[in-house]
Subunit: 127 residues, 2 copies
DNA sequence: CAGTATCCTATGAGATACTG
DNA sequence: CAGTATCTCATAGGATACTG
């Protein structure tokens, strides 16, 4: 089985790995979940509390998708009250540094992006 | 004006910069566009050809959004036939390294992700 | 606690046709 | 060439209610 990236040079075919990544694991919630899990295994409702604004459904779906892609692991702890822990897999851990680079960029360049947006919107208005 | 990231520790508030980033500039098409533009200023239809599967509408919208956020610049060249060039801004250039880290991860870990997915789907079937 | 199921709506995105 | 406009449809996602 070949694993042609099909993205050589500057042509991006439909089966480009980067598409898979952005379709499956590089969204907003995924990044936040992984960042939280980096601090240790976490319960469902703890996650929900930390990810302000996430709906139960979105969280549930995102967790399942991340689990399916081998990024996080789900484990049931038999106790009362029953609980479930989510944690990063070794594979998931390797994704953290790239995400942190993105996250760092976001923090460092928020101002510039906001300024650009304001400038753009002003020009639209006066165009 | 304070620029509280509101994401200290492991709580992600609604105005977290990373959310802005993923909402505005960290999607699939954006990353591919930026990668192409890294090779030099490019015309609209050239971009369309290289991004297999992108619709004219999606490309147009994504370009406008990136321009609004200060990531790329649009310049009209007065000639026949008339043309438009898109290129990365200095700000856009700074986003490239983080994106390349993601891209590299995708290429290196495609196999593992696919394997995880297959395993997961097999277990679902036999559960 | 940790979800699933259902309903409903807003947005995303393709296809197509048209414009400066 | 470089888009915009419109139409349509599929999906993502929130709210709510229910279950093991």
């Amino acid at each position: 089985m070949r694993h042609d990236t099909s993205c050589a040079g500057s042509h991006f075919s439909v089966d480009c790995p980067s598409r898979l990544l952005f379709d499956q694991v590089a969204d907003k919630w995924s990044m936040m979940i992984m960042t939280v899990l980096h601090g240790g295994a976490t319960r469902f409702n703890d996650l929900k509390r930390r990810l302000e604004g996430v709906s139960q459904k979105s969280l549930s779906m995102t967790l399942k998708r991340l689990e399916r892609n081998g990024i996080i692991a789900r484990s049931v702890i038999a106790c009362t009250p029953p609980g479930v822990l989510y944690e990063l897999t070794p594979l998931g851990l390797t994704l953290l540094p790239p995400f942190q680079a993105i996250y760092r960029w976001a923090n460092e360049n928020m101002h510039a992006v906001e300024a650009a947006r304001n400038a753009y919107d002003r020009n639209i208005g006066s165009a």
